[in-house]
């Protein structure tokens, strides 16, 4: 074996090892975070965490029942805003728009997606909180909903575009109008994908903290209705982790574990929906 060849082989092996190592690090980071969280959270989590209100400063025990309900309410509002706008907008974008407006919409959605979440928070603050002089669940849901729009829109669009042209032609050749084709063939063929898109957008905003800091604010008690400040898991983690109390740190870890578990479950559900088969013809 010539020297040159040996050198090339060694370089090849070295590069292969490096790429493998980096791939391993990627996976490793995830598992490290998971392990760390499970270790700290797992030892802190108990039944009280799910059913009790936060304990007053100085007392131990208590839970985050109000934050769990608060997060649920915020995400419900966010979906109410983000899902219809995102999905209907995507239908327009994928099916009806001509190239130039489509380019503008897509570009705007990508920019909106790139807006830092803290900026979305300030925007919601000045639009919803200031005029009513009140931090509220509504303001928080509004901020999260804004974030859901571009994520839902872009991924729904991708799934609609993946529906083969042959199916649309088949419907139109039977005398279906454009709207009928979309409603009776394209959307049913893409519904798994659309559902996945919604779930992933949902999971994405479930962990957002910054937009909630000055919209939903936080609350150590139950938040009745929609016009009061409310607790939420991410903000609770932020506040508890910054506190000087050992017991609160413990609860922050537990909250982190619950939040991560929720997002993980949503992701797995979304993927299994998709894996059961995009409705596409045999090719």
């Amino acid at each position: 074996m010539s020297l040159r060849l040996r050198w090339r082989k060694q370089l090849s092996n070295f590069m292969l090892a490096m790429t493998g190592l980096c791939a391993l690090v990627t996976v490793g980071v995830l598992f490290f975070i998971l392990g760390y969280l499970v270790y700290h959270g797992g030892t802190s989590i108990n039944w009280d965490f799910f059913v009790k209100l936060p304990a007053p400063v100085g007392e131990t025990g208590g839970g985050m029942a109000n934050a769990i309900v608060g997060s649920a309410k915020l995400l419900f509002l966010a979906s109410l805003l983000g899902v219809p706008i995102g999905v209907l907008g995507a239908i327009y974008l994928a099916e009806f728009s001509s190239p130039t407006p489509a380019f503008v919409i897509r570009y705007a959605a990508d920019l909106l997606n790139g807006v830092p979440s803290i900026v979305i928070g300030i925007f919601a603050f000045s639009l919803v909180v200031l005029p009513f002089k009140q931090f509220s669940t509504l303001a928080g849901g509004f901020a999260l909903g804004l974030m859901m729009i571009p994520i839902t829109l872009r991924s729904t669009e991708e799934f609609l575009r993946a529906v083969p042209r042959a199916l649309r032609e088949a419907a139109m050749a039977l005398g279906a109008s454009k709207w009928k084709t979309v409603a009776t063939v394209v959307i049913p063929a893409a519904y798994r994908g659309i559902l996945t898109a919604i779930l992933l957008a949902f999971a994405r905003v479930a962990g957002e903290t910054a937009p909630l800091l000055f919209t939903a604010l936080g609350n150590l008690f139950w938040s009745p209705g929609w016009r009061q400040p409310t607790a939420s898991l991410p903000v609770m983690i932020f506040n508890y982790a910054m506190s000087p109390y050992e017991d609160w740190h413990r609860q922050a870890w537990a909250a982190g574990l619950v939040l991560l578990g929720l997002i993980l479950v949503i992701n797995i559900v979304a993927r299994s929906i998709l894996a059961r088969g995009m409705a596409a013809p045999r090719t």
Partner: protein, 275 residues
């Protein structure tokens, strides 16, 4: 047939020069569709040049020619499927039973002129729902069950699927899927059925079944088929048009075109010298 279906026609609007001994009285040949002086453009590019053809009622007309000669484009203009592609332009006149198809409501036209595509494209729905689709979207009042059975029988698929009508259409074989697509098109009882290379993705046995089916379907509708396969055109069709570079080179009865073509280019193509 209305007399207006045959206006003062250019010479080759009806199939010319039938084979000796096979001469049909031209007057008896009713025309379902008339294509006259059709020019077609994709953007600035012209793909059909002054096409004139008559589609005889209750017969099979096949369009043959090398790839890119415009035969599929011509077929798609017959139910205005070209309009689903942006930036196309159609000049000229296409009549169905004497009415200009461009003046008709496009959804009504497509019910009268059905289409089957190159690749079987059943919807991701059950076999039943596939066939019933056209009836449902058109708000038909006929009982769906009967109509679906009739269409599946007409497409020679009923016996194979009657026990599992509610299974997904994707569980059928490729040939069955294509017959399902034919059944789906037949369900709305079209007067004309357009087929765009319906057998190009099928094995010889499935192809034979579909060819047999087409010959039977002449009883209920007029058929126009685009095919790459010259033997297929020779086996099933009554009339054949040979297209080259967007022009109809020769249009005649099928036996005449294949045995004694009058244009040297037709002869070169059917004897396999190009294409």
């Amino acid at each position: 047939m209305q007399a207006s279906a045959r206006p003062s026609v250019p010479l080759n609007l009806t199939p010319n020069a039938p084979a000796p001994g096979n001469r049909e009285p031209q007057a008896a040949l009713a025309m379902r569709m008339n294509i006259s002086k059709v020019n077609f453009f994709y953007g600035p590019k012209q793909v059909l040049f002054d096409v004139n053809l008559g589609i005889a009622s209750g017969k099979i007309t096949s369009l043959i020619g090398p790839s890119g000669c415009g035969k599929s484009t011509l077929l798609r203009t017959l139910n205005r499927m070209h309009e689903t592609i942006n930036n196309t332009r159609l000049d000229g006149e296409i009549l169905i039973d004497g009415q200009n198809i461009l003046a008709e409501d496009v959804t009504a036209l497509r019910r009268r002129v059905g289409m089957v595509f190159q690749r079987a494209n059943p919807f991701p729905k059950s076999i039943f729902d596939n066939v019933a689709y056209g009836l449902r979207i058109n708000g038909s009042k006929i009982p769906l069950g009967e109509a679906v059975e009739k269409s599946l029988r007409n497409a020679a698929l009923w016996d194979e699927v009657k026990d599992h009508l509610h299974k997904s259409a994707y569980e059928l074989s490729g040939g069955q899927q294509q017959r399902l697509c034919i059944a789906r098109a037949l369900a709305v009882e079209p007067e004309v059925l357009l087929l765009d290379e319906p057998c190009s993705a099928l094995d010889p046995i499935s192809t034979a079944k579909i060819e047999e089916l087409l010959v039977q379907l002449k009883q209920i509708c007029t058929i126009v088929i685009v095919t790459h396969n010259m033997q297929q055109a020779a086996r099933v069709s009554d009339f054949t048009a040979f297209l080259l570079a967007g022009q109809v080179i020769e249009f005649s009865t099928t036996p005449h075109l294949f045995t004694t073509p009058s244009d040297p280019r037709t002869e070169a193509y059917i004897t396999g010298r190009f294409g």
